[in-house]
Amino acid sequence: MFKVTIEFLRSWYACDDPRRVFLARYPDGVELADLLSDVCVDYPGETMWLVDTIIRHGLLPLQVVVAALTRVLAGGLDVPGSVIDRLANRGVPPQVRLRRLRNNTEGSALLLALLDDLLDVGGVAEVNSLAFNLRPILGLPLYEANTKLALALVVELRLLEDELPSGPGGRDDSYGENEGEYDEDEEEELP
């Protein structure tokens, strides 16, 4: 779905060592989901840079990022179920979901800081990894929190595969039986 090449690493200022390893292991590039998954296992120290870069710079569809975050926070220590429900509500655009949660006092200060980060309210001066905010919410060490986010991204990216994600109506509703057999009397309305 999204391929990563050595030029990507170079242009986003990856260090020499990771670039060298990347070139040796993936001379023709690699799918992002595979890379994230490999890095989590073999080079966990490099995961933070990769996750932060792809999220902070808007390199992935926001739907994917929010879905991954929801997946991670669902295992958090003190994350209210209502927060997860709101984050998971695909009937509301993802940025609106993040914004509403940020403006809602229901969330903890840590969660608000994380949402601020995701909404880029803090701006580029905030150089801390997203995992710094995620760590206490999950009650995990820094790298583990980050790995969890990375693996959630892997799951969401693989779900995406080559197709755009389906919407709140779900993709399987009565498909097969009815598609293509439109009722002639069906209302001709604009989307």
């Binding site: 242009s11 590039g29 710079h57 197709e163 755009l164 919407g167 109506g169």
Partner: protein, 181 residues
């Protein structure tokens, strides 16, 4: 990224749009091709709906939005060079670039409304863009749709490069790395 009929159904496309989509693309179609086809169709309502869906629902990487805007603004008569330069600041996140421009003093209010709506996740402000470009709203929408399609094609399934030019002394550095090995 491919668009298939289930996608349109799940996002609530109207029956007429779904019927036409099925006739034209029974096996689905690449997103960029669909955007271009919509822009060429002259069907402003459908183009605008689909464009809004992609932007508001965060279905495309946001990093391509400022570049698409730069392309759409190419023929605009009075866009200051510093605005374009800020849009190009790839070291900053795309959201941050749009936010800064939306709040910058002295920028055309119509242009600011375009930046603000994109930054806030409200999609394309076609009216604002049309005022800036001096064209009809439908033309502004089409222009942006084409620009977004071009950026998607440029992406070509690869994650986009960052602020430094990937071709800069690439050969030389690669040799260095080989030497080090």
């Amino acid at each position: 990224m491919k668009v298939i009929i289930e996608f349109l159904r799940s996002w609530g496309a109207c029956p007429a749009a779904r019927r036409e989509f099925l006739e034209r693309y029974p096996d689905g179609v690449e997103l960029a091709d669909l955007l271009v086809a919509l822009a060429n169709s002259g069907n402003e309502a459908w183009t605008s709906w689909f464009l809004g869906l992609l932007l508001v629902e965060g279905l495309v990487p946001f990093v391509i939005v400022p570049d698409a805007l730069i392309k759409a603004l190419e023929d605009a008569p009075n866009v200051p060079p510093d605005v374009i330069a800020t849009l190009r600041l790839s070291g900053y996140s795309p959201v941050e670039r749009l936010r800064v421009l939306a709040e910058r003093d002295g920028v055309d209010p119509n242009l600011q409304s375009v930046f603000r709506d994109l930054w806030c996740g409200r999609g394309l402000n076609a009216y604002g863009l049309s005022e800036v470009l001096g064209v009809w709203e439908s033309t502004a929408t089409e222009r942006f749709a084409r620009a977004l399609a071009e950026e998607l094609l440029r992406l070509g399934g690869e994650l986009p490069f960052g602020p430094s030019d990937p071709d800069d002394d690439y050969e030389e550095d690669e040799e260095d790395e080989d030497d080090e090995e």
